[in-house]
Symmetry: D2
Subunit: 466 residues, 4 copies
């Protein structure tokens, strides 16, 4: 679906590579394949074993890194980050990885997730003398490890610090002599381990492995801390096991269709959601269409089960970019449509099933329904391949307040009227859960937060999620 149209903002992406002669270049390509997880900023830290070099900036990977600057990022080990953020003039300071310099060696951290006790930790750390230069949660980990970490080794001090964190996190951490990886005890965020030649890689999604020619080894376990260094790869569980709770929106919307999460391909999962939807809401219609790009798989699945032809009823422009000149209000009213258009030749005179992956505010569904009707559709049936979102997320989605969630205040029939559809259906939580093998976080659908009751303080620092 269109980023511009929706309330669910994308996640961040992290990547790390250990022992590859062109580590920064590998990171560049990997970040490129993770670009859908964050288009606001990107950064790479590389080390040659002597020092850490950083390059980061606001914008797309291709904007931030020039060929010239890549040449300066020499070294065999690197980490990288792509970021979704609120942007604005304050944006730069929060671009990751964060780099901390010290006389004993440098340290770089990149983070995907959101700590629910970030505010409390900051207050205490500041009282203890810490100074914060960013709003990123990664900075909290650095201060905790410096001040509260215990144990002889760097890894031990890090794990002590990690145990003080609550919420979701996938960390990649680089020093001059090791790459470290940590996942929260619920496994809320995706994180996979692979091998590349003589070295190792870690990434938020496996699509990065395919791009760089790496071999998938396994997913990082909830509560696991992995050390990768000259001696190889060693994993430790730093936290008692909890029920696995991978963010279900990763399957539904965030991840790329060519990624696998815990062994299940995302496209395949979405297609299964579409099939389940077809069984729950069979409609008598002429064509099935999906909202490009993230809803196409579900639409295909729906068509396969119902036998209704799957068609390209909606087209997304490929050339919209930041330099595009927006139409003026008068042109907009006159009907100038950008980014998404309905295909008259496909939908005119047809009863259309429009499958979307999710529904947050309802505004997108309303707009697309209207586009389809203007293009001549006689009926528009909106089917959502996930349940109604009624609760905010505290784990990293740029979550709406409850006020903005249409399903928190309206029943399905009311939403149908708002959207202007002939019918409206949501996949039930039960049917959705049957599709997946691994434990999922369903908090936004059910209100059951896997980490327990979330402190009110989380709201104060929502913007710090990354």
């Amino acid at each position: 679906m269109l980023t511009e149209l929706r309330g669910l903002n994308e996640e961040c992406g992290v990547f790390g590579v250990w022992n590859h002669p062109r580590a920064a270049q590998i990171t560049y390509y990997a970040l490129h394949s993770l670009q859908h997880r964050g288009q606001e900023g990107a950064g790479i830290v590389v080390t040659d074993g002597e020092t850490l070099r950083i390059r980061k900036g606001q914008g797309l990977v291709t904007d931030v890194f020039s060929a010239e600057c890549m040449e300066k990022l020499q070294g065999s080990h690197a980490i990288g980050h792509v970021r979704y953020s609120i942007g604005g003039v304050n944006g730069f300071e929060n671009v990751q990885p964060l780099l901390f310099r010290s006389q004993n060696g440098d340290l770089a951290i990149a983070h995907n997730g959101s700590l629910t006790n970030a505010y409390d930790l900051r207050v205490v750390l500041e009282e203890e003398g810490s100074i914060f230069q960013t709003a990123a949660d990664a900075e909290i980990l650095a201060h905790l490890a410096k001040r509260r970490g215990t144990g002889d080794s760097f890894a031990d001090r890090m794990m002590t610090a990690l145990r003080q964190l609550e919420g979701s996190y996938a960390f990649v951490i680089l020093t001059e002599d090791a790459l470290y990886v940590a996942l929260d005890p619920y496994g809320l965020k995706p994180l996979a381990l692979g091998s590349l030649g003589e070295g190792y890689v870690v990434a938020s999604e496996t699509c990065a492995f395919d791009l760089i020619g790496a071999k998938y080894l396994r997913d990082v376990k909830p509560g696991e801390f992995i050390t990768i260094d000259a001696r190889g790869v060693r994993g430790q569980i730093f936290s008692e096991p909890r029920r696995q709770a991978l963010c279900s929106m990763e399957y539904i919307y965030f991840s790329r269709p060519d990624s696998n999460l815990w062994g299940m391909n995302v496209h395949t999962a979405r297609k299964k959601l579409g099939k389940a939807l077809a069984r729950e809401y069979p409609i008598d219609a002429d064509v099935v269409t999906g909202v490009p790009d993230s809803s196409l798989s579900a639409a295909i699945g729906y068509a396969e089960v119902t036998g209704i032809p799957y068609e390209l009823g909606l087209i997304k422009s490929r050339y919209i970019g930041r330099t595009f000149i927006e139409p003026s209000q008068s042109l907009r009213e006159q009907g100038v449509k950008l980014k998404l258009s309905a295909v008259r030749g496909v939908v005119e005179g047809k009863r259309v099933v429009m499958v979307d992956d999710s529904c947050v505010r309802g505004t997108t569904s309303r707009r697309i329904t209207s586009l389809l009707r203007e293009a001549g559709a006689t009926e528009v049936h909106v089917l959502i391949a996930s349940p109604t979102i009624q609760h905010p997320c505290y784990y990293g989605m740029d979550t709406l307040s409850t006020d903005e969630l249409v399903a928190a205040h309206h029943d399905v029939e009311e939403m149908r009227v708002l959207i202007g559809a002939d019918s409206l259906g949501f996949l039930s939580v039960e049917k959705m859960a049957e599709v997946f093998d691994c434990g999922l976080c369903l908090a936004c659908f059910t209100g059951e937060y896997p980490t327990g009751e979330v402190e009110a303080s989380v709201r104060c620092l929502q913007a710090s999620g990354s």
Copy 2:
């Protein structure tokens, strides 16, 4: 399919608008929707009835036009052009529209097509004293109209000139007081007429109408010359009628799926090609996949007829742009894949039918077959939703010489071996022709050129096609 991978380069696109208060803006959006027809250069000429103003440049529409420069393009009538070209340092001079200034009024011309007698006409015109500043065919029309045009009116002189042209052309022509449109007698190029508010529009493809909220009226007829001015719209046939011969590659590959050509939706036509392919080459396989983006419709059609599930087995990157840093040779060999990747989670252990829209050199098919096998496909069956291309095009495709056309030198079995597929099939010319309602140019498949034998001289100026 990927532009970078193929031998068929895209066409140009033309657009014109008469009588809209923001004519240049409307043209900007229209060109944006025609961007797939040419990414190398773009231009707009606008008139307020007093003078003609031009802005053009190399690159995408969004690169060439800034908000600032759009403000300067005031006027109610405009034409625009997007261009595919060979690029290089000589590129700029050939970006269209061309603008000719004279004491009697200015004249701007934009052209899609390729004149087969361009070389001969240039030689004669130069002998008569003409000076050429570009390699564009549009300049030939301007000189012909100036020197050889006869009749009292501008339209008459233009039509005299047009009758001297051979080959394919869709022209949009702007003066201070009228917009003119001309299509070659065979209708080799697509060109549609629409209305927008109180005014009129003309475009290479109807997708431009949808974007700007215009209403489709009809396709421009082969051999028709249309005058649009303060008195309205008047069409004249300037050339005796011939058998209609719309370029079949417009349906197969060039046009956007949401465009209609002569009343048939392009996506629908491609899906029908896929269905015809399914009937001609039913394969026992596990999944069907298409090469994004132009082959998806055919793949869906194939899946629908055979009942084999349609899957996203290949993913095209959305973020590749001109600033992307290409991997070095060593990284390439190591497996760094960009632009297109096979989805392991979908194809691993599966027998795959890979549907592509066309096959020119065979290199793309070979590369994709290889990608699919590396991702674990046990069988790869390559099916092409069009016939074998054995003959060069003289009408505007950036045509390969016969030497490069793999089907000109190999039979299907030899091609199968080259591509490395388990089986290879091409839709037959007969089955393809059954799909369409209108007369088509099939020259690249059959060698039968609708304009008759093409002079050898055409080869000298191949680069001038636009």
Copy 3:
């Protein structure tokens, strides 16, 4: 003096090089040294003896040419141009050199000057069938040579064409096998010939020779046509000799101080003007200051003769560029000063002589006088190192209409009051003429136009000057 503040816009600059392995690079550096003659556009045409390649664009030399594009401009012979123009959306088409392609060989022309019979020539040529694509005078020469040129050789046909031109011109012309140079019969424009290694160079100013390490040979003579090719250099006089009339503003304002014109260094000439001014207007003052940069030499000369200390009383910012954010009106009123500032530490409490090179509208002098007073100067004496400008220029200065020339409507005392100076003096025409050795055009001071009465038609095409 500041371009932004004045009415005298800069001239164009031309350059040519024959027989240097890196001809385009040499041209790039030469154009860079001629950048002060035109900042609106730049172009280079290069030939390897086979074809002509062009690169041009709007903006500074450093904007137009990237390292990448320079690599493509291979060849041993080149010409280049920097242009002052009115800009706007129509700007690009007039950037030079112009390139004309023909079956018999290509032709590129760059021009500095302004034809006074351009309008008439265009009308006649259009009647004969010519089509014009630019407003540049160079295009007229191309059409004339094509249609009206007579004689067996290219040089002969060019000279026939040149004889039909009236006004000022310095042309450099490139074909695959020769470089040609032509200067108008009055020598209104500067043009110098030099040698570089085994080859030859020609430039509007000798500062280009110093930069590229070329050796000055001589100035091109009025009415001379020079052919440079594999056989060497051959000059011919194509027009009967007239009284030499080099534009006096070249010495006064346009040319770089390190250039020599007809053997006299420009800085030295300006210093002499300042000395003459000192003899004509000795003032009892504390400090002498000049308006940076073009008036510094005259100020130094004035100080040397009078014995009054020369000081840096005015400073010009070095970092103002196109991306500079202009202060808002309120900030401007509050005193935010950019580009030029008076040095309080130098002028406070002092009687100041402010020397400027010329005075067109008077607005600059008024503004600077005000700046000096605000910075504490007790008296401000404005001395202009050239006579009053009372007549428009038809030979290439972006001339003001008589209405705008302050000296056309006011006597010196009135101007003094307008400027707000304690005294105001202009160097007399007689004293100025004594400074120079060569014949000068004094038309803007005296109204005596060397080419005789200028046709009214010239005004119609003023914008075409280059």
Copy 4:
């Protein structure tokens, strides 16, 4: 003199404004006037009393700040910084101001200077749990104030922290409710206080005041801490008074000629240095010339005393920028000269006195001497308007090690031979000191460091100077 040619790199510049409706815009213009003190990076922090907003980046002021981003920097109080730095991929993190966020309020710091005990302070602070994210000395002050600051008020805690610093510093510090200014006890760096409307400003140089229309009030005193807030301006001396020791290179080279330092105009001071030089080294010559731009004043002074004409014998290019294409080695050898050229028309056949402001490595003087000889000078006498630099600077100049200082290893006659001059003279320390009114740091000439013996540790962190 040319930055590119010399060993003395420029200083940083700081600015602050309190109580102006467009504080960020005022800071933008002020930084622009301080641009000569640092071209590698720039930053502005602004506050509206609620929060601090930051924008910074690498490059010139005009590169870092767009009109769009300036709009976002709303507020009445601001500080800014321009930075010279070593650049490279690590550069960004050190761009100032630094911004520290805390629950109790935010804090921004900008610094000009270099702490000689930076290394020791960092080691201790890290042991105490501090984490450093930059190499900037400003970060040390923030940590010291957080951890070691004592007293009830912010100002008291800051002053406690400042007393622990050694070396040179001019700090501007911004919080939501006050602007603070601090100067080291020796006054090594320049810093001036002014008023602007109802508010106050502080700047490294007074030229910033002239640009923005502010009124100079006084220089900040050595060891002074100034608080500017809603209650007005209050200065306190936080450190016992020492002998004033303003960096003498500020007068000689760094500062703009239109700035005043401790009441003396910089141009005037330089002219006096030139006059003193004339008395110490009268030469029998034909012309005097200075190296643009910083040596022109001294050359004028030299000419005034000796009566030898002052001429523009050397010209600096105005259009060289970062996009300029450097000539290849072969072109360089052939004589392509950029940036600086000798004016043949002025120096040919002449005995030339070339005045430069300082001599570090000697390479620049050698190169310019060579340029002048190539342009025909018969004699070249090199006179330096400052003493020989024999000792490194620890206070903020990007100091050379003693190895690179030509005067540390050669007597004047040896240097003359190296430079290739006919004679060479340096102004004596005694004569130089007579020119100035205020106490100066002469350490680089005499080796007498005002802060006493500088610890070896300073060398470890030389790069951290700002």
